[in-house]
Symmetry: C2
Subunit: 198 residues, 2 copies
């Protein structure tokens, strides 16, 4: 409608590439960028390019890294292997206290709807890794949704015959939440998996 179909308008369009960012939010972001210092905007633009260029997947576990093998795989010594769906799950789990496992990122889950079978995710690599290293336990930390459950069960069925202890992360009421707002599936699961208190 006016010359906002210009540099700013292009930047607004660029921001809508981000998840959950509509026109209003994109405008707010763009106006903010104009008010940042040139150094900050250059840092921002460089960060975008560098993150895209440098970020690879770790050759061992498959998580994000700038190197051939990620720091966790290089430096950590653990007999516990935690299997997750995506690299960002590794970041989330690393925030849990006192957890020092190694990871294996599947890069997806078995999902018939998306036409994804066991061969489309990194299960073969998982088996190879388990055969080459001795793990005491494999924790299935895929999401507690249908695909995550199916994938966890599929992998458990592959590994249990090999004599490996396979566990699943606990499902139940969220810490700090309120019973009345929990959905019925979560409540059923929480009751079913109840623990003896000592």
């Amino acid at each position: 409608m006016n010359d906002n179909s210009s540099s700013i308008q292009k930047l607004i369009n660029a921001f809508t590439l981000l998840p959950g960012v509509g026109l209003k939010t994109a405008e707010r972001y763009a106006y903010k960028v104009i008010s940042l210092s040139s150094d900050e905007v250059e840092f921002f633009a460089n960060s975008l390019l560098k993150a895209k260029q440098n970020t690879k997947f770790c050759s061992v576990c498959g998580t994000f890294t700038d190197k051939h093998t990620c720091d966790i795989c290089m430096k950590r010594n653990s007999k516990i292997l935690c299997v997750v769906k995506e690299p960002k799950d590794v970041v989330a789990l690393e925030k849990a206290r006192n957890f020092n496992a190694l990871y294996h990122v599947l890069h997806g889950t078995i999902s018939p709807l998306e036409n994804k079978g066991p061969n489309d995710i990194r299960i073969k690599e998982l088996i190879t890794r388990i055969n080459e290293n001795k793990f005491d336990e494999v924790i299935m930390a895929t999401n507690p949704d249908v695909e995550g459950e199916v994938t966890a069960n599929y992998i458990a069925k592959l590994l249990t015959p090999l004599g490996i202890k396979v566990t699943r992360i606990a499902q139940g009421i969220q810490m700090g939440s309120d019973l009345q707002y929990a959905d019925e599936v979560t409540l059923s699961k929480a009751l079913e998996d109840r623990k003896v208190m000592n």
Copy 2:
């Protein structure tokens, strides 16, 4: 904690420069960037740099433009001048239907708290512009907050003695909203400024 203090971590930090973006949102944005194509990321980074480099303020009205004088000032013919606080207000008003005024961006409002007086915003430029061009009406479209009101009143007192018709945008109940959620100041204003229905 691991090698996420790397390219991705830098990108996450960069995203927190944006207004209202915390760590969680920044992470979501960064992961999305990794999954975009290289072309898209390059477009994004270029848009940032270009918007910062090219965006200037129009020499006449003071809004965002890539040129010396913005398209509205160059092409539009109007005897109505609409005074706003910031360039983004121009973008917002341009979305209103059947509104074809010229604009004057003050780049701020009179605000004793922020130590901003009449000389710190573009009031002198407004007076010069009004003296050099014949306007039928000056619409004060600063925000309906304390600073916006003070600024509108200050400018009205300057212009009215010059024989210029100065108006203020209407304040009242928001279109499509619900009376019960309106604050009492808005309700008082809406009642005070009630109009005869024909």
